[in-house]
Subunit: 204 residues, 2 copies
DNA sequence: GTCTATAATTTGATAGAC
DNA sequence: GTCTATCAAATTATAGAC
């Protein structure tokens, strides 16, 4: 199933590999499956990307490199806290709508081989940088504009509520007996539910 | 690294296989690694469990079978809502302390091959049953004892905040520059932080 | 039951024609 | 650049001695 935008073989491979890698992980992905998905020959994968490790690295680095900076722009901006939380939730959901398997992909490989991942991808430019966000929470607590709360736990709560539903999608869909459309509706609702839930909890 | 409790070869294999499968997933696990971990021979794995698929299924079903009922006992009990939330968080963290890779294990295989998992493991006895919990929230909202909130989103928030940190452990440890001990301390704090955060958000 | 040695299979990688 | 055919390596599975 080749995307209409993918003209060159190289681009077809990248699109196919991204799909197969994200759905099966590095170990589970088959070069043959990537070739089939791209509608080309297996030998072509090696012609363009040398070997499986290299192909994986190209995909993985590109995805992480696109993703984390977007989050960091929000975390490091000068917006008020509540607006920042709102923006984070919405931008994250926007991003995942285009790359449904991305969070899974990143966490999966981080769990599998954290050290290798760090050395190749998690460099200065591409890692999450929450320091400013944490300091901002601390400041608001001290000013007394929000309740006393641990900045770390607030950040983890925000990340958890935003990211987890995408990772646990199959479990949630089955447990709650949701179909594809209902799942998407649930996610859309969370654009407002998550900020509201957080703000209700910490506002004075 | 054989556990002192594991006397028989079969038990050694089960313990070793659980560890290797949960750390590497089905596709990434190597039969040789399981044999080494168990301190026995590779042929023994096949003698006791026929093949890799069968061994995986035995482990996986056993873990899921133990885990979900514990959660369900809480969800289906007659405790007051706030107490139920508190108990869920604490029992879940207790459980994961003994099986750190279990949530990852379950979600990983659910993402990889949901249909097969469902047919073999997710049967009547072993699936999560949140219906009573959802109804209880609905009832409290109608009584006016808590704020108006979607029961579904409250449940997802609870699951997210409790489970996500374990799944995202490598990312959190690296991003927040935590060592093993600091991570465990953070988790311990969440026993109180999560219920407090939720209750602050929904209490009137 | 447990082992060593080996077969069988899967899968990644390459050679060589076009 | 692209393909078919084939090789090489990794990995699962089994045969057979003890």
């Amino acid at each position: 199933m080749v995307n209409k935008k993918d003209t060159t073989a190289e681009q077809k491979i990248l699109t196919a590999a991204k799909k197969v890698f994200t759905m099966n992980g590095m170990a589970g992905a088959r070069m043959q499956d990537i070739a089939d998905e791209a509608g080309i020959n297996k030998a072509m994968l090696h012609y363009y990307f040398k070997d499986k490790d290299k192909l994986f690295e190209v995909i993985f680095m590109a995805e992480a490199a696109k993703f984390f900076p977007k989050v960091n722009i929000i975390f490091e901006s000068d917006m008020p806290l509540f607006e920042k939380i709102n923006r984070f939730v919405n931008e994250y959901i926007d991003e995942i709508a285009e790359n449904p398997y991305l969070p899974w992909f990143i966490l999966n490989e981080l769990n599998r081989d954290a050290d290798q991942f760090m050395s190749k991808v998690w460099n200065m430019a591409h890692r999450p940088k929450p320091e400013k966000f944490l300091a901002q929470i601390e400041k608001e607590v001290k000013k007394g504009t929000i309740k006393r709360i641990s900045p770390l736990h607030l950040l983890i709560n925000l990340l958890s509520m935003t990211i987890f539903p995408f990772i646990a999608r199959p479990m949630l869909m089955r447990t709650m007996q949701m179909d594809e459309l209902q799942f998407r509706e649930m996610i859309e609702q969370r654009r407002k539910e998550i900020p509201k839930f957080i703000i209700d909890s910490i506002k004075k």
